[in-house]
Structures are given as C-alpha cells and as structure tokens.
Amino acid sequence: MFGLWKTWKALEARGIMGINRRNADYVLKYNKRSLYPIVDDKIITKERAIAAGIHVPEMYGVISTEKEIDRLEAIIDGRRDFVIKPAQGAGGDGILVIADRFEGHYRSISGRLVSHGEIEHQISSILTGLYSLGGHRDRALIEYRVTPDPIFKSISYEGVPDIRVIVLMGYPVMAMLRLPTRQSHGKANLHQGAIGVGVDLATGITLRGTWLNNIIRKHPDTTHPVDGVQLPNWDAFMQLAAGCHELCGLGYIGVDMVLDQDKGPLILELNARPGLNIQIANDCGLTHRTHAVEAHLAELAAAGITETPQARVRFVQELFGHVPALND
C-alpha cells in the first residue's frame, strides 16, 4: 500500500497524466461533443482540411450506397494503387490497401491477389457498418495511397509509420513517431504492438521508444536504433498539427500525420481521445506541458491576443523543445 502511494506521488511529481485526468480536464473540457463527428468521420475531416488548405491524401471518391458501388471503376479511374477505408472505422479495421494491379486482379500491400468482386464485397461490408463503431451504416472512402518516405525503411516493418502530435488549443504539446512492427501487422496503433518513439518538438529528432508500455531503443524487427533519427520537414509537421485546431474546433486532439515520399507531410486523421502512451515514448508527463500552455493561454486571453499557428509552434518549440540527449 505504501509502495503504491510512493509510485502515485512519483508519477504525480513527473506530471504523468492518467486517464481520469485526461477525460475530466481535457477531453470533457475542451472537446465539444457536437464536434465529434468532424473527427469521427474521416470524410468530413478531409473535406474540412481541404477547405482550410491543409494537406491530406487526395480523395478519389466516396461510396455511400450499394448502388454507387457500380461507380467504383470510374472512381479508381485506371489508377494502379489506392486505399479503401471506412469513414468511421476504428483501430485501422476494414482498410484495404491496393498497391498494384496484376492481370485483371488487384494486388494488396502484402502481395495477396484480390479480385474486383472481393473489393466490392469489402465496400458493401463497410456500408453496412461492419467496421464502424456501434455498427452504424457507414461510407467508404477511396483515396490516395501514401508511400512512406524511405527514411523509415530501416526502422519500420511493413505498413506506414505515422506521426502523432497531441495538440491543446492549437499548441502542439508532445509528438511521437509510430512504427509498425511484425506484431502489429503493419498497423501503427500502439496497443496492437506498434512502437512509439518520442520526438523533440523543436528539432524533429527522435528520442527513445516505447513498446507495449516498456522502454526500448531498437526496432525489434529491423534491430536498427530508433532514437536519434532526424525527421525531415519537421516544421511542416508542426505547422500542420497546429492548424488542426481551427480545422475541427476541438481543443484537445491527437493529430495523425504521414510523410509521403512525393507529397510531404499529410494529415491522415484526428483523434478526440488520444492515448497516453506518448508520455512513455517521450519519457515526460503531459500535465506539466498542458498546464504551461493553459497558463500561456490565460495570459493571452488577459491581454486580448490570439496567436497564429506559426507563433504557437514557436512558443512550444522554445518551451518544450531541445530535450537533452540521452547519454547512457
């Protein structure tokens, strides 16, 4: 009992945020329920982002009724690679990634051959709500297939690594690179076994990683070190993340971004309840950082100023960036 209390105090001193605090102080306080559909539905997120001039993977088309499945051919329009996603899917379920065509068939990312009929069935399943939260009817989204930048080749296994940034009222407070592993089946979700690697907000250099709540330094599949990697285009990522607050109106979000080898940083999706493992990846608690941002916001509000995304990024980079390198 005493040991637990000590652990409690130690975690609190380091500003580690628990689920209860995240829900009570951030999710419930900053995220209006009525705005959830914007982030829950990837199509709405995408439309908003396009309207705001934020870079997202190009949308080829949307299928919302069984009848419209006939239009699939027209939507694909002869492209060799594309992605089919449920608009309200969760946990990466129901996503079909077509990497190439082969003799009238399609070839999925893992090399499996898929017939046109199978794709139509997949879309039909998406429409009936097979993959949506709560089993509601859903829409299928057909979009550009992201090709990850070669920089990630050595530290990821299949799939597309993505960058998760937690953004409080437009201020990025913490960032993490998520690397798929063999165990996560190419998915970038931490609870499925992907690796989370902390990222210095100012420089974009990776820190160490977390894998299933443990601290690691090497990718288990490629054995390359995951720390000390300079992410290209880092400021663009930060600007994208900071701009998402205006895009959706939610105050506390996780922004998931990818680095495409041709198109650069793109926003994949937004999350209204970002997970807490990012803290382990950064070896740093969220609470101190969010409190600093809240104090800054209060100051600005008193002075009657609102900052631009550029100013916000500068603020957090100065305050939270340049984490001393680990030397042990």
Partner: protein, 510 residues
C-alpha cells in the same frame, strides 16, 4: 471552470445532506430498524366453535374474545361464519362476540381467527381496578372454617400480595380439615378459585378470575384460570393451584370473570377448541400490518406501501445503482477493463437467475462456443444484422441444449438457464469478438475476465440481504450514492492499474 466546481460541490453537499438527513429521520425519529433480522413473533390463533343447533329456535352464541388492551396488538381479526350475524361488544373490560341466526339446523361450526403480536411500546395505558370489596355472607361451619384458615394467613402475611399468596397456598393444602370442609369434596381449580375468593372477600380483598390462553405453537390449548387482584397500580396475577405470583409472558388474557367462555341459546353440545401457530415476520412488514389497526402511518409513503409483487421488483431495481457503483469504482479507481459500462451489471442481474458458480460456468461455455461460431461466420463475410441473428439463434439453441442435457442428468439447475437473458449473452459475444479482432486475443481475454470479475462482484454485493433491506427501506441512501458518483465524475487521480502501466518512468530514475 471554478464556478462549475463550486456548483458541483454544492450539489454534492446538498444531495449527501438530504440523503443522510432523510435516512437519519427514518432511523432515529420513525424508529425503523436498521437491520432486517429484528423479526417479531406473529401468533395465529384459531378458535373453533362447534355446537348442534336445535331446529326450532333462533340461535345465539356468545363467546369472549381477547380485549387486547395492553400487551398484545391485534393485526387481523376475523369471524368466519356463514349465515350468521356477527356483532362485537365490550363490557367490564371484556370483549364478546355474538353470532346469531334465525334458522339453522344440525351441526354448526364457527371460526374466530386472531393474528396478533406482542406490543413493545414502553408506555402502557393506566389500568383501573377495585381495591376494596364487601364480604360475602357465609354462616355456620363454613364461617368457622374460614375464620380458622384466615387467622394464620393474617399472621404470615405482610401485605395484600403475600396475603393472597398465602391464602392460595392454604386452600391448596388439601390435607387441612378446614379446607376439606370448604371444598366439600370438589378440589377442581374453578371450585378452589371460588373458595379463595370467599376467603379474600372476608378480608375485603377483591379478587377476579382471569382466563388466559398459553401461546404455544401446535399444541391444543384450553383456557387456563388465573386469579388477579388490583394493588392500586397494577394487576397482580396468581396461579390458583400453586399460589405462584406473576403471569408468564406467554399468556394471553382472554376474558375475566366467572362466566363461561361460551354461552349458547338454541343449541347444545357447545365446545371450543383452540389451535395456535406462530410465524416470524420482518419488523417493517409487521409495522405496516399494525398500521391498519392503529394510526401511526409513517410507512404510507415508503416503498413498503407498494403491492408485494411490485415490492419484489423494486428490491432488485434499487440494487442496480449499487451494482453500477461497483463497476464505477472498478473502472475509474482500480482501472479494471470491462466490456462496456453496464454489461457487467446486466450479467450480474442474470446471475440472479442461475446462481453465481453455475452462472460463471454457463457464461464461459456459451461465450466460448459463441465466439468460435462468430469467428467461423467471420469467414463467410456476412453483414452485421444477419450475423447477429445467427449468433442469437445459436445462443438460444445452445441454452436449450444445455437445459435438456442437464435435465436428463437430473440437474434442475440447468432449467433456470432458460431465463438467462440471451440477448445479453449475444451482445457480449458480439462485442467480445470485435474486441478480439481489434485488439487481439490477449486483450479480449483480459476484458472477458474483467467483465466476469466485475459482474461476480456486483452480483455478490447486490445480493447481500442486509444491503437490500437497507437500501429498500432507506432509499434516500441513493442520494448519497449519487453524490459520490458526481464526485467521481471529476476524479483526476490515477487508476490503480496506471501505477503499474507507467512503471517504466520510475525504473529509469531509480
């Protein structure tokens, strides 16, 4: 934000205070017992009156019934008789029922039924009685014998109480010549009582005959004669055979005086037989029953005012918030992962039907089989609704099979599964399989075990009889519960499991 916190604090304080004060009022002012086991003995007395009616005359039967003035409370009294007019009247501290009919014939049977319980109130109404009486006139040898008996009694007694006791002892000394003379060869108790009254009247001590019934279950009883005398404050009771003073607590006063229990006009061979039995009753129910015969109406607006059937439903319903509270604590304070929020409570309710151990086994078997079916259906790529329907049907078939199987094996318990809410099972299977696919087998297993654990704990707590009684009797407790839940709504501390989850931070520093 701050004003919201203040608002919440005030709300919580108001709710807790309201709940606590209503409950305190119920306990301390209304005196409702806090635990259920304060049960009271309930006596059911049947007096069966039998006689043969003569065909010619109208019939009139009079019988004494208990006056119930002091030590007992009548809960229900009924006179069961066909074609008879019934009237009850009071006279000289006695109560008498009169049955009358113009034309009846043959053997007649009438019933008088009384349900009563002991009165526990502290203050008793004042009683009145005579403390002086005139001497009965006697002459001749009887007078001499009486005087001879009284002389030593006077010597051996100090007050009225000892005087009466001494008198009774002397009269019971059948070897004494004076006693023999007075009894004149009839040593029956009523006759002895008559002699005692005579002797006492000479000393101007009033004496009354009290006929009592002994409250013993399942033994035929006949009225028992006691003597009583008023000492200015209270009645003193004496056993006419032993001179023993004090009425045992299991005696019920039926009537006083020299009259017979029953008198019949227009009939013969009258007889009364008594049969008694007792049962125990929850003190609250008893209070409710007593209410109908008294004016204390404090339970009128409690849940006890509902019909019995509805009460039983509410006994389950008031426990649901307790179950939810258990889940709330397990999830938000401990950090246990369960399937959905209220599924464990629903499963806990289902355990009511099946018993805990059997329920867990059933839940596990059906869910495991259902999951394997669900994973098979996964290959068929079915749409959601048809798939759910197939799983539900499968669950029904499974339950039927288990019932049949266990019935053939002679296990009656298996039949109770028919009522096991199968929709809950179906939804559990569905959600568990989604969890399985999304987050892997390990997580699904963890969640399933967490759900079972939460459901078992909720079930165990929801079926504690003392707790059910308490919440049902003092529903204001639920307000305190709401206060706690509101406070939990803004709880920001760590969950117990998070202390383990974030251990990585501490290792690094140590």
């Amino acid at each position: 934000m701050r004003s919201l916190t203040l608002h919440l604090k005030i709300l919580i304080t108001v709710l807790v205070l309201l709940g606590a004060s209503v409950t305190a009022y119920q306990i301390f002012v209304l005196g409702i017992p806090v635990t259920e086991d304060a049960t009271d003995d309930l006596w059911n007395i049947d007096a069966k009156v039998e006689f043969v009616a003569s065909t010619k005359e109208p019939v009139k039967i009079q019988m004494f019934v208990p006056p119930l003035s002091r030590d007992y409370v009548s809960l229900n009294e009924s006179f069961i008789s066909n074609n008879y007019g019934v009237s009850v009247n009071r006279a000289d501290g006695n109560r008498k029922v009169t049955w009358s009919a113009r034309k009846v014939s043959g053997k007649q049977t009438l019933y008088y039924r009384l349900v009563l319980t002991k009165r526990y109130t502290g203050e008793k109404p004042k009683v009145k009685g005579q403390t002086f009486r005139d001497s009965m006139a006697i002459e001749g040898p009887e007078k001499i014998a009486a005087d001879a008996l009284l002389a030593p009694i006077r010597q051996h007694s100090a007050d009225v109480e000892t005087f009466i006791g001494e008198t009774i002892k002397r009269v019971n000394n059948l070897g004494d010549d004076n006693v023999k003379l007075l009894l004149a060869g009839d040593p029956s108790t009523p006759h002895k009582a008559q002699i005692i009254e005579l002797l006492l009247s000479i000393a101007h001590v009033p004496m009354e005959r009290a006929h009592t019934l002994r409250l013993v279950a399942d033994q035929p009883q006949t009225p028992e004669l006691w003597l009583r005398s008023f000492n200015g404050n209270d009645w003193l009771y004496f056993n006419p055979d032993t001179g023993e003073q004090g009425l045992p607590s299991d005696r019920l006063l039926w009537w006083t005086g020299a009259d017979n229990l029953i008198s019949v006009e227009g009939g013969k061979k009258a007889g009364v037989t008594f049969s008694l039995n007792n049962s125990e009753m929850n003190a609250i129910r008893l209070a409710k029953l007593t209410d109908e015969n008294s004016d204390a109406n404090f339970l009128e607006y409690s849940l006890y005012g509902l019909p019995l059937q509805t009460q039983q439903t509410f006994m389950i319903m008031v426990m649901i918030p307790i179950g939810v509270l258990v889940i709330l604590i397990l999830r938000n304070l401990i950090g246990l992962q369960t399937l959905g929020t209220f599924t464990p409570v629903l499963i806990a309710l289902a355990f009511r039907e099946t018993q805990l151990g059997f329920g867990i086994v059933l839940f596990t078997i059906i869910t495991a089989l259902g999951l394997s079916l669900r994973s098979y259906l996964e290959h068929l790529k079915l749409q959601m609704l048809p798939r759910l329907s197939v799983v539900l049907t499968f669950v029904v078939v499974l339950i039927a099979a288990i019932s049949l199987f266990s019935h053939k094996l002679g296990l009656e318990r298996g039949l109770s599964v028919a009522l096991f809410p199968m929709v809950i099972l179906t939804m559990t299977i569905e959600r568990l399989s989604i969890t399985w696919e999304e987050r892997g087998a390990n997580h699904a297993l963890k969640v399933a075990i967490g759900t079972l654990f939460a459901a078992s704990l909720a079930h165990l707590i929801m079926t504690v009889p003392e707790l059910i009684y308490f919440v049902f009797t003092f529903p204001a407790i639920l307000l305190i519960l709401v206060g706690f839940m509101l406070a939990m709504g803004r709880y920001r501390g760590y969950r117990l499991t998070e202390l383990v989850r974030f251990k990585a931070f501490l290792k690094e520093n140590a």
